[in-house]
């Protein structure tokens, strides 16, 4: 499975989100690859799901085909886990 963590510049906060997603996936034994990237580059990338801020998510939902999840607190493992659960249920 391939997840993307997205923020405006794709270097700082998406890196934090990426590490949280990896922690959750490791704890849940989900085999996945997580990359972080910026708001522009993501439009040329393929993924099973995209995680980003609620504001950027509104934008990306219109342009991307894969499910997009808005995360408010990037360090919050519970919030990320809820989004991942939602993703797994809808598969």
């Amino acid at each position: 499975m391939k997840f993307l963590a997205v923020c405006g510049f794709g270097v700082g906060s998406s890196m934090v989100l990426k590490m949280t997603i990896e922690k959750v996936c490791r704890a849940r034994n989900i085999n996945c690859e997580v990359q972080n990237t910026d708001l522009t580059s993501v439009k040329g990338m393929e993924a099973d799901a995209v995680f980003t801020s609620p504001e950027i998510a509104m934008d990306l939902k219109q342009t991307l085909k894969c499910p997009v999840f808005g995360i408010k607190k990037y360090m919050d493992q519970k919030e990320v886990e809820q989004a991942i659960n939602q993703f797994l249920e809808n598969q």
Partner: protein, 421 residues
């Protein structure tokens, strides 16, 4: 032997950064495949980063030389360093300063009350970059230059996030993290002003902003448009920038595209480079430093006050552009300033969030307004100081702590190089 190492490794940034990444991965006891892969990705990242900086700076440089020609009637471009040659000549020193600086930064967190662990990846590269450039401007070289860059960077990484912690915690409502970003001084100014003149009763988050404003978030597009407009203005004032057979509209368009694409390339390079180093750094700090608090990139707090970010960007963009037009018209700084898109979004966006935390919507607006005046002032002063090294890079990314602490570091470097001789 030493000369061989210096020429081929220390002055060869991709190789050096590859090695630093490999050491980080070895310390984490990764397997050999991960180590080889990580080392190569870091080396690619360094090369790509260098290319991106060259593209971005390359679109800015002609603006200033065209203006100087129009104003003074001569092109006084000497054989000095410029942004592209700075990274390839001193990138190795920056890499070493980063490596030593990180160790110092960990020691400060381990043995003092300042428990910051600075995890904003790209800023782990840019601070040694500006401080080494300040050292070069001050006449330092070799080992003293590396040590100078390492000490100044470590002090910044440890202290700035710590100094502004209470402002950040007022926004987040808990004490789980700090902000590690060159917005520092701008956010502090905004916070102090907002506390005095703001009113907490009305929040930025109570109003509903039109969805179309979110367009600004795509910083490469916004940046490209600004560079396009800038070039159109320049070609009208200094037509010599358009060479024969070229069309001013398409020249401007080409430069705008080069700028925006350069920005994306640069970000990709930083990402490749830093993703190999951050996890190692975080792993080590979690193990050896009890009670440490991570400092993250500024967009982390954007989610707490998304409206404040957009309001702050607009306030900063208008205030700074008006000031820049005035400064350029009277040639106040001897350098043509360019509208500060990146700094207005990230640095002033944070300043607005911090201002909102202290004094609601009024605090956010007044705080950001004052901060953006300060932004243009330090920008103008710092590009004069960085005349021989990273001036063009700073014209795009400065106006923040880079522009405040860089010149201060240059003054200190002057003193040191006077002592060493």
């Amino acid at each position: 032997m030493m000369e061989f190492i210096t020429t081929n490794i220390l002055r060869n940034p991709p190789v050096l950064l590859g090695l630093i990444a490999a050491i980080g991965l070895i310390v984490q006891r990764k397997n050999i495949a991960d180590i080889v892969k990580g080392a190569f990705l870091a080396a690619f990242g360094m090369f790509i980063l260098d290319t991106g900086v060259g593209l971005v700076a390359g679109t800015i440089a002609p603006i200033n030389s065209a203006f100087q020609e129009a104003i003074t009637g001569s092109t006084s471009v000497g054989e000095s360093l410029n942004d592209a040659t700075f990274t390839s000549s001193y990138g190795g020193d920056v890499g070493l300063a980063m490596f030593l600086g990180l160790i110092l930064h960990l020691l400060i967190a381990r043995f003092s009350k300042v428990k910051t662990i600075f995890l904003t990846g790209h800023m782990l590269w840019w601070f040694p970059f500006i401080f080494v450039a300040a050292g070069v401007e001050g006449g330092l070289s070799g080992m003293p230059l590396v040590i100078f860059g390492a000490v100044t960077s470590a002090l910044y990484w440890s202290f700035m996030p710590w100094i502004m912690r209470k402002f950040v915690w007022d926004v987040t409502g808990d004490k789980s993290f700090l902000i590690g970003h060159p917005t520092g001084i701008l956010s502090i100014i905004s916070g102090i002003v907002a506390r005095k003149f703001g009113n907490k009763e009305h929040s930025t988050e109570d109003i509903k902003l039109p969805q179309s404003l979110s367009f600004f978030r795509e910083i490469s597009v916004t940046g490209g448009i600004v560079i396009f407009i800038m070039y159109i203005v320049v070609t009208i004032i200094a037509p010599s920038i358009v060479s024969e057979g070229e069309n001013m509209f398409f020249l401007s368009l080409k430069q705008a595209i080069t700028f925006a694409a350069g920005l994306l390339i640069m970000l990709y390079g930083v990402r490749l480079l830093i993703n190999q180093i951050i996890p190692a750094f975080q792993g080590i700090s979690e193990k050896v430093i009890p009670g440490s608090i991570p400092a993250f990139d500024c967009p982390i707090i954007f989610n707490y006050r998304p409206n404040a970010v957009i309001i702050g960007f607009i306030v900063a963009m208008i205030t700074s552009t008006v000031m820049i037009i005035i400064a350029n018209s009277f040639n106040v700084f001897g350098v043509i300033l360019i509208p500060l898109v990146v700094t207005s979004f990230f640095e002033c966006g944070s300043a607005a969030v911090i201002g909102e935390g202290q004094g609601g919507i009024r605090g956010a607006i007044i705080g950001t307004f004052v901060a953006s005046i300060f932004m243009v002032l330090i920008m103008g002063i710092s590009v004069m100081i960085y005349n021989d090294t990273i001036q063009n890079w700073l014209l795009v990314f400065g106006g923040n702590d880079f522009s405040l602490f860089g010149p201060i570091a240059k003054l200190i470097a002057d003193l040191f190089s006077g002592v060493i001789g």
